[in-house]
């Protein structure tokens, strides 16, 4: 028999090794599906790697895709730190996209437009996240369920906009009007799609790390999450911390939507997010809720997504493999996390 035994201390190298272990386990587990599809496992992973990280252009494409997941990953990490179960990053992202598209379509000088887009998008995301937080604080409504249901509400609201008032009357396509050219985020490297928003995302991660680890609000967020009773006893207004956390988390998720509008699509369509909000949960868990870890975790998932499409073209393995990899990575990471708190000890049969 085996049993789990509480660890008294966690070795430091675990912090780095666990996510890598989880990722390795995921790739091994998912190779079964590649084999099932009748393709070579190493060859398929090889194509994925080359197509996502193989040359400088591929790397920029992967970074462009990682940017929204850095934001949603940070959003989830911040929320989960306070045990505010924000599963609504997807809806908050969509709200941010819509708001920034609305602002970006107004003619004004470029830098001003980008700034206002960011503010509007963050505010919209924060406003959406405020709903589950308020419902939890005021009415004790489970935040998981309400934030999940809101995703559907926001999605249909977006669809109503692009099928209704925003619908392209010329082509009849359900897409919003494009933002002003001047509001398009500048491209940093000629010939790639690497836009300003990607750099903002990369800068956001250390800023949020600083906020969580070094500021009073960050301290309150952590204490509220770790032990709300102790937090309350220590004079922390837990309800207010939850609301602040929700606003911060929603704003970050909203910025993910801003980047997609300003830097990638320049308008809003129904599939503007292929589930970046949910991927944020995977990213945050792989990062062990550490804002700095969010960056490599998001890049990993982005590489999987970018690579899966190329793999699908080259080997015929359905690109949905990337979704399976995401789910498996999340579950593998959870199991890996178990080993930070517990060790497996063999116990004798006499026990």
């Amino acid at each position: 028999m085996f049993r789990l035994e509480v660890r008294t201390s966690t070795p430091a190298w675990f912090n780095l090794a666990l996510p890598l272990l989880a990722i390795a386990a995921t790739l091994v587990l998912c190779s079964g599906l590649i084999a099932l599809a009748g393709a070579g496992v190493l060859e398929s992973y090889g194509v994925m790697f080359t197509a996502s990280l193989g040359d400088s252009y591929a790397i920029t494409e992967t970074l462009v895709r990682a940017a929204p997941m850095i934001f949603t990953g940070l959003a989830v990490a911040v929320a989960f730190r306070a045990k505010f179960w924000n599963i609504g990053a997807e809806g908050q992202l969509l709200a941010g996209a819509v708001a920034s598209c609305f602002v970006g379509a107004i003619p004004m000088p470029g830098p001003l437009a980008m700034l206002l887009m960011a503010i509007a998008g963050a505010a919209a995301g924060a406003a959406v996240a405020l709903v589950p937080a308020t419902l939890r604080v005021r009415f004790k409504v489970d935040d998981v369920v309400s934030s999940l249901l809101l995703n559907s509400v926001i999605y249909y609201a977006l669809m109503a906009l692009i099928e209704g008032p925003w619908k392209d009357s010329f082509s009849g396509y359900p897409i919003s009007p494009p933002i002003e050219d001047s509001a398009n985020f500048p491209v940093l490297i000629e010939g790639t799609r690497l836009h300003l928003g990607v750099i903002v995302a990369l800068i956001a991660a250390p800023l949020i790390w600083f906020l969580i680890v070094r500021t009073t609000l960050g301290f309150r967020i952590r204490v509220t999450g770790e032990n709300p009773e102790a937090a309350r006893y220590g004079g922390i207004n837990v309800e207010r911390v939850l609301i602040s956390t929700a606003l911060l988390s929603g704003a970050l998720a909203g910025l993910a939507g801003v980047g997609e509008v300003g830097g990638v699509h320049f308008q809003v369509m129904s599939d503007i997010s292929p589930g970046y909000g949910y991927s944020g949960i995977v990213v945050a868990m792989l990062a062990r809720l550490n804002p700095l870890g969010v960056v490599p975790a998001a890049i990993f998932l982005a590489a999987v997504m970018t690579g899966a499409e190329a793999m699908s073209r080259a080997t015929g393995v359905p690109a949905f493999l990337s979704d399976v990899i995401q789910g498996t990575a999340l579950l593998a990471m959870l199991v890996a996390l178990l080993f930070t708190a517990y060790r497996i000890r063999r116990v004798g049969a006499s026990q």
């Binding site: 049993r3 789990l4 509480v6 599906l33 099932l36 599809a37 179960w85 599963i87 709903v131 419902l135 009415f139 004790k140 409504v141 489970d142 998981v144 369920v145 309400s146 999940l148 249901l149 809101l150 995703n151 559907s152 509400v153 249909y156 609201a157 669809m159 109503a160 906009l161 099928e163 209704g164 949910y278 949960i281 995977v282 868990m285 359905p318 949905f320 493999l321 990337s322 979704d323 399976v324 990899i325 995401q326 789910g327 498996t328 999340l330 579950l331 959870l334 199991v335 996390l337 178990l338």
Partner: protein, 314 residues
């Protein structure tokens, strides 16, 4: 007013409510069993999707509808067991594991579907369940044709509600489920295996979620599309809260939601042309959130919900 009244009590409208309520009733009862044992199953959305896929595929390949249902139920049980392995045996976070199970099973559903059927411009379809009138009962005016001229799976759902109540409140196993959900320590002292009971409840819940998925792809749509579940699993989780973790109330909540959804469909069809139809699609979700806010004041969740149980940590 009387015109609205007439609309609502049309046979077609009542039948629509029943059909919308059926997968929700299965899913809600499934989630209820799981939560009554102390395990939140956020995997429900993905489990329903994967079951809808396996049920559809099994029927499509074998030509047998009931083989499809069996495949869907087994899929649900398997994914339930997976969720239980993570949350019950290993004691990991129920929230995050559930999302993991949903991501994993929806990814797998799409992956396998594409692998089996390839990319087709027109999605393959099956000849799904047909309505079976029940003699005599189906002759009752209005109610008869709406309720007693339905798919076999609808009748199963109608039977499942009292059966679930009986199992939960009148059988020793139901007592064990309620005990491990309320007070696992006491249940353990009384000789009930917390781990085994929770596993069984989550697996039973998965079977019911599988039936919900089977209904969607094999009776309602007769095809597997990416939007086949579209949030119904999440709604079921809310309906459990709304139904206060009771089989009868949960089924009632499913009916109420189905009523709002059917009404929304009528409003879409009734020529309120200038309003985009998505506005109406939002209504059931908003309704559910508002209803939860109203009901949550006196809703009492099983006390051990979300709390893992480890015997050695007394």
């Amino acid at each position: 007013m009387s015109a609205v009244f007439e609309q609502i009590f049309q046979v077609g409208f009542l039948a629509a409510i029943i059909r919308i309520a059926t997968p929700l009733a299965f899913a809600t009862l499934g989630e209820m069993f799981s939560e009554r044992a102390g395990v939140l199953n956020l995997g429900i959305e993905g489990i329903m999707l994967l079951s809808a896929m396996t049920g559809f595929t099994a029927t499509s390949l074998s030509g047998s509808l009931w083989l499809g249902v069996l495949a869907a139920v087994l899929t649900g049980m398997l994914m339930g067991a997976l969720h239980a392995l993570f949350t019950v045996a290993l004691g990991l976070s129920q929230h995050v594991c559930g999302i993991g199970v949903t991501l994993f099973s929806s990814g797998l559903a799409y992956f396998l579907y594409r692998l089996i059927f390839g990319q087709q411009s027109v999605p393959p379809s099956i000849k799904g369940f047909q309505t079976v009138p029940i003699p005599i009962l189906s002759d009752i005016p209005v109610l008869g044709p709406a309720v007693f001229n339905q798919f076999a799976l609808v009748y199963m759902a109608i039977i499942a509600i009292p059966l679930a109540a009986f199992v939960l409140y009148r059988t020793p196993w139901g007592l064990s489920v309620r005990m491990v959900g309320e007070n696992p320590r006491a249940a353990d002292s009384a000789g009930v295996s917390v781990i085994a009971t929770r596993f069984q409840a989550v697996i039973l819940g998965g079977a019911l979620m599988g039936l919900a998925g089977a209904f969607l792809s094999m009776a309602q749509f007769n095809a597997f599309t990416f939007g086949v579940v579209s949030g119904r699993g999440w709604v079921a989780i809310a309906l459990v809260v709304f139904g206060r973790w009771d089989p009868w109330r949960s089924a009632g909540a499913a009916l109420l939601f189905a009523f709002v959804d059917a009404l929304q469909l009528r409003m879409q069809a009734s020529g309120l042309g200038h309003i985009p139809y998505e506005t109406f699609l939002m209504l059931p979700f908003i309704f559910t959130i508002v209803a939860m806010a109203v009901m949550s004041r006196n809703a009492v969740a099983p006390s051990a919900l979300l709390k893992p149980f480890r015997r050695e940590e007394r």
